[in-house]
């Protein structure tokens, strides 16, 4: 059985006087223990909202969350807030994009790590601080004894992200959700953090959901990749398969539009035309149709279904890119 099984998860933002907006539209995916799953897409595709919905972190007012999030035999969406609080941080850890705004600026790092241990593992402050020191050491923070007493503003961005990872991993969660964990960091620091995450996943056997817009990050880290567009999964595949033979025109376009360090210089990039603003609602057809080069009549006649492919993935497209067309 899967560790996490998300079934038809939908999130609708409802505001008085405004039309409801479907941010996440019947997204389903599952995560096996020890597996790394990627959610990829551009801004506004619903990848972060998906993770917040799984964690139960969306405000109750103004949002309608439907579907199922089965984790370890229980539907997280149906848990009482108290029970969810017990699980959050203990069974599921989360790392956010901006480490400065997700750490409390007026509480020392050590206390912030120890807090989790006290809350979930019933340790007293002294024992928890000792454990916190070891955790900071494990995520590669030099001189952890001194760092314990310091405040977030006193350490660098990369170190803050490491501290956040230490907090997320404090209770040895079975699932870790990382929402753009390296976007705010420089490339050399990003490489450090990604190596650390990979190493921790290998050592502790925790499953990881990696949410990112960066296809390069996904290529090196994830086992399975879900590509999101307009709140729906448009393509899912094993990573080698996805990058070698992208079938959805959006995935294909995305891979072609990134300048690569190892591609010849001065070649024109194949940009995807238009912008997300051109999307049509899914009920009328494929949201990507107005920007798609492969568009056919069927694309404007209702939502294309997500169908399994021959290679074990899933695809939501009426006229996919042929398998022979490889990415240059």
């Amino acid at each position: 059985m899967s560790l996490l099984d998300v079934r038809d998860l939908s999130v609708v933002f409802q505001r008085r006087g405004e039309r409801p907006f479907t941010a996440v539209d019947k997204v389903s995916f599952s995560v096996e223990p020890g597996q790394t799953v990627g959610l990829v897409g551009e801004s506004g595709c619903g990848k972060s909202v998906t993770s917040l919905a799984i964690m139960g972190l969306l405000p109750r007012r103004g949002n309608k969350v439907t579907g199922e999030v089965n984790f370890d035999g229980a539907d997280l969406l149906k848990l009482r807030p108290d029970d969810m609080r017990d699980r959050r941080g203990r069974d599921i850890g989360m790392i956010f994009q901006d480490p400065l705004s997700s750490l409390n600026p007026v509480v020392p790092i050590g206390v912030q790590v120890a807090e989790v241990l006290e809350r979930h593992r019933g340790m007293d402050r002294k024992v928890a601080m000792k454990e916190a020191r070891e955790l900071l050491d494990a995520v590669g923070i030099p001189d952890p004894m001194r760092r314990l007493k310091e405040y977030p503003h006193q350490i660098s961005g990369g170190m803050r992200q490491r501290a956040l990872i230490a907090i997320a991993l404090a209770c040895k969660p079975r699932l870790l959700i990382a929402d753009e964990p390296t976007t705010a960091l420089d490339v050399t620091i990003q490489a450090q953090i990604l190596t650390l995450l990979k190493q921790l996943v290998d050592e502790t056997g925790t499953a990881l959901i990696m949410i990112t817009h960066d296809l390069g990050v996904v290529a090196g880290l994830c086992d399975t990749v879900n590509v999101l567009y307009g709140g729906k999964v448009v393509e899912r595949a094993e990573r080698h398969e996805l990058f070698a033979r992208p079938r959805h025109p959006y995935t294909h376009g995305l891979l072609n539009s990134v300048p690569r360090l190892d591609s010849p210089r001065g070649e024109r990039l194949h940009a995807i035309r238009g912008s997300v603003a051109d999307n049509i609602p899914w009920v009328e057809g494929c949201a990507f149709a107005p920007r798609c080069d492969n568009v056919v009549d069927a694309c404007l006649e209702g939502t294309p279904p997500l169908e399994p492919t021959a290679t074990g993935g899933d695809l939501r497209c009426n006229n996919p890119v042929s398998e022979e067309v490889a990415v240059p």
Binding site: E42, S43, P99, L100, G140, P142, D143, H153, Q154, I155, S156, G157, G158, M159, R160, A184, L185, D186, V187, T188, I189, Q190, A191, Q192, L194, T195, H213, D214, L215, G216, V217, V218, A219, G220, R239, H240, F243, A244, G253, L254, L255, S257, V258, P259, R260, L261, D262, S263, R265, G266, E267, R268, L269, H270, A271, I272, R273, S275, V276, A277
Partner: protein
């Protein structure tokens, strides 16, 4: 439009440019307690019609150097020569006139466009400032041309910035620079705020405009892949200094400075087969504070190839190692030939509070 004679050779020359920001402290009387050495001795030249890409991580001084070129921040020392004129010696009106020929594109199109000005008013502002908006019909034509060049309809003129998407806003920013018919465009992170699919559109646009108008670009970016794609020559900056400069192809084929090597190996490539095989050079620790840069080679505290002699004492000059390939490393040849092997480096503690925060974007603002 260009009044300069047909000179080949460099359009811009920077000679040992330094930008130091004083750090002030005190309640009644400001005392200078130190300096942020944002740019500390950079020399480079950009040829006409060429694209020069400046890369480096946040806090390396790349943005400050771009601003120093336009004198948006005043360089502390050094020479900035633009088309044969020493820009730093220009005063008042002469400097203002010169600015028409050097335009800038900023990173965040939303905060660099006044939300209360219509696109027309945004575009015409520069023309008026330079006395080029005298003839109404000609001005209107010019605005329409600039918009057409960046792929926006003429109807955009009466709209306001909030009515556009991020990519379109960046196009307005480019049109604003273009309308003055500049010789040099300094683009500071022109695509980093945009989604990848939009990034490609803007990169293509910048390339088209260069071909049509014969523009010279100074592109400042942290994304090596973008710079490699667009630039003819690439300069890599680290902690206020240029550590390596070569043609884009050479730099990619054979990075010679240890920092460039590490930087290149850190950039993720969207190809699992490359990623699986690739060896990463992981740098230990963070960027040292620019208020108190390490003595000797700025990179020696994190360099896996650092040697006990020279590296810590003597700051390496940017020297020609191969044809058109300049490197600031004492041991560039030895490293290239494999005579020096990389070793482990213990990460050193870096305090963000005694300088610019390494997590911040490239700007270094003097503390008030």
């Amino acid at each position: 439009m260009t009044e300069s004679t047909e000179r080949t050779g460099p359009l811009v020359e920077l000679r040992d440019v330094k930008v130091h920001f004083p750090i002030k402290s005190g309640v009644l009387f400001d005392r200078t307690v130190g300096h942020v050495y944002a740019v500390d001795g950079v020399s480079l030249s950009i040829n006409k019609g060429e694209t020069y890409g400046l890369v480096g991580e946040s806090g390396c001084g790349k943005s400050t150097l771009g601003r120093g070129l336009l004198r948006l921040v005043e360089p502390t020392d050094g020479e900035v020569v633009f088309d044969g004129t020493d820009v730093r010696a220009l005063k008042g009106e002469a400097m203002r006139k010169m600015r028409r020929r050097i335009q800038m594109i900023f990173q965040d199109p939303l905060s660099s466009l006044d939300p209360r000005q219509s696109v027309e008013s945004l575009l015409v502002e520069g023309l008026k400032a330079h006395g080029l908006a005298k003839d109404k019909a000609a001005t209107a034509k010019r605005l329409r041309e600039a918009l057409a060049a960046v792929g926006l309809p003429a109807s955009a003129l009466s709209k306001y910035p909030h009515e556009f998407s991020g990519g379109q806003r960046q196009r307005i920013g480019i049109a604003r620079a273009l309308v003055l018919d500049p010789d040099l465009i300094v683009a500071d992170e022109p695509v980093s705020a945009l989604d990848v699919s939009i990034q490609a559109q803007v990169i293509n646009l910048l390339e088209e405009l260069q071909n049509e108008h014969g523009l010279t670009y100074l592109i400042i970016a942290h994304d090596l892949a973008v710079v490699r794609h667009i630039a003819d020559t690439v300069g890599v900056m680290y902690l206020g200094g240029l550590v390596e400069e070569a043609s884009s192809d050479d730099l990619y084929r054979e990075p010679m400075h240890p920092y460039t090597k590490a930087l290149m190996s850190a950039v993720p490539v969207p190809d699992p087969q490359v990623e699986d095989r690739r060896e990463r050079i992981l740098l230990a620790g963070d960027l040292p504070s620019p208020t108190n840069p390490p003595a000797g080679c700025r990179f020696h505290t994190r360099c896996p190839w650092a040697q006990p002699t020279r590296c810590a004492e003597e700051r390496p000059a940017l020297r020609q190692v191969l044809d058109g390939h300049r490197v600031a490393c004492h041991y560039a040849e030895d490293i290239a030939a494999g005579r020096i092997r990389p070793h482990e480096v213990e990460p050193e503690l870096v305090r963000p509070d005694d300088g610019a925060a390494p997590g911040d974007t490239g700007e270094l603002i003097p503390t008030p």
